[in-house]
Amino acid sequence: MLSAFSAVYARDLRLALRRRVEALLPVVFFIVAVSLFPLGVGPEPQTLRVIAAGVVWVCALLASMLSVSNLYALDHADGSLEQMLLSGHPTTVMVAAKAAAHWTITGAPLVLAAPVIGLLLDMSPQGLAVLVGTLLLGTPILSLLGGVGAALTLGLRSGGVLLILLILPLTIPALIFGAGAIGAVDSGISASGHFSLLGALLIVTSLTAPLATAVALRIALE
């Protein structure tokens, strides 16, 4: 079981390393999307400080949703996805490995880029620390939920936009607690409640989303 997990995980990382520019596209999208906000809203630091947490979180959310539509599409196109499902290893393990690889390739760079982006929006130092913490807990949730959408929309026309429509409503709790934690710290309240709820969400999602993804993959490839 563990060997199946690590094999799929290592394979996806290796594939990403061979297409380095492609793998970095979500982070580039994230940075470009965030930097549009000062241009749209205006450069006043006090305005930017108020919206910073929400903007960073929403852009991270969109970046992972855009990148997750390719999670199964490429493997589906070259037939390797069917081989994985036929291999006899539990599909949920495979799906969990794919989600973990997606997080390592796109989620982790988003977490690393977030403090720099936060500085551009004039966030406070303690706000930046909380932002990194919430993204660390929140981006795996996005990768896991995105996997469900990617499996449901596998091989469909307009799959990418459809995936976003299906999954965005489900990511609202993560967005609320993720962005809310920074607001709480900035207004002098402890963010531990937010962190606990994000952690609970992560646990629930990591227990249920791989099951739903595995079922959806089986349905899509029947």
Partner: protein
């Protein structure tokens, strides 16, 4: 038909079709009569509200629509799951038929709510917990409809829709409570719904009449849509052919 009735009797599309055809005129009639009575009581008999004036009368449409839109999502998830797990074709068709009706009732609830909000709260929209969660419910309905219509293969579409509806149904309480919490954190002074101390008898009567009218309408329109789906999917079977022969 002298065969014994079982719980699965109407799982056969041909029998469901006949049942729906027999019930539909009654349901439509009931919907029209109850809606006429409810609207009459609500708009002409019920007294003017002391604090809100005449604008409160929107609740006779708003509240029943809000109730029904939430129940329909659960019914949709239930039938989609039944259709998926028991391989019951009619249940999946029923789930598909429920989605547009649920979406339109959610939209009506939001629309009338905003008409009520303008004179009462002085604004078309507030990011109140209840309003926001209804907006998200509308998104969930739209996602379901979009997924179902994007998948050409009927069997795959039914199963994928069932997975999505179940994931949505599990998430609804999480979304609702997170939205409520978000709302209490962000909004300093939440506008409270001004409740009348006790609802006048006629107001309650009008609201119940409208609720039953909406239910009758929902059943009728969902049955009609399910009939159309059954005819379309079973077009190569004998019962559809003989039905078409009879009508031609």
């Amino acid at each position: 038909m002298n065969q014994t009735m079982r719980w699965s009797t109407f799982a056969a599309p041909s029998r469901f079709y006949r049942l729906a055809a027999a019930l539909n005129p009654w349901l439509w009639g009931l919907a029209i009569v109850l809606a006429a009575a409810g609207l009459y009581v609500g708009f002409f008999v019920a007294p003017v509200d002391a604090t809100q004036g005449n604008s409160y009368r929107i609740i006779f449409i708003h509240v029943p629509a809000a109730w029904i839109s939430m129940v329909i999502y659960l019914a949709m998830a239930f039938w989609a799951a039944v259709g998926w797990m028991l391989n019951a074709r009619m249940a999946s068709m029923l789930a598909r038929a429920l989605a547009p009706t649920g979406a339109i009732f959610t939209f009506i609830a939001l629309w009338t709510g905003s008409f009520w909000g303008k004179p009462t709260w002085g604004t078309w929209w507030v990011w109140d917990a209840r309003l926001t969660s209804y907006l998200i419910l509308l998104f969930l309905y739209l996602g379901f409809i979009a997924l179902v219509s994007a998948i050409d293969d009927v069997v795959r579409g039914d199963k994928a829709a069932a997975v999505l509806a179940l994931v949505g149904a599990v998430n609804i309480p999480i979304i609702y409570f997170s939205v409520r919490w978000w709302n209490t954190l962000h909004q300093g002074a939440t506008i409270s719904m001004t409740k009348a101390p006790s609802m006048a008898q006629t107001m309650l009567v009008a609201m119940l009449l409208m609720t039953f009218a909406f239910w009758a309408y929902a059943f009728a329109v969902v049955f009609t849509r399910a009939q159309a789906l059954a005819l379309e999917r079973e077009r190569d079977t004998d019962w559809v052919r003989s039905l078409a022969g009879k009508e031609a």
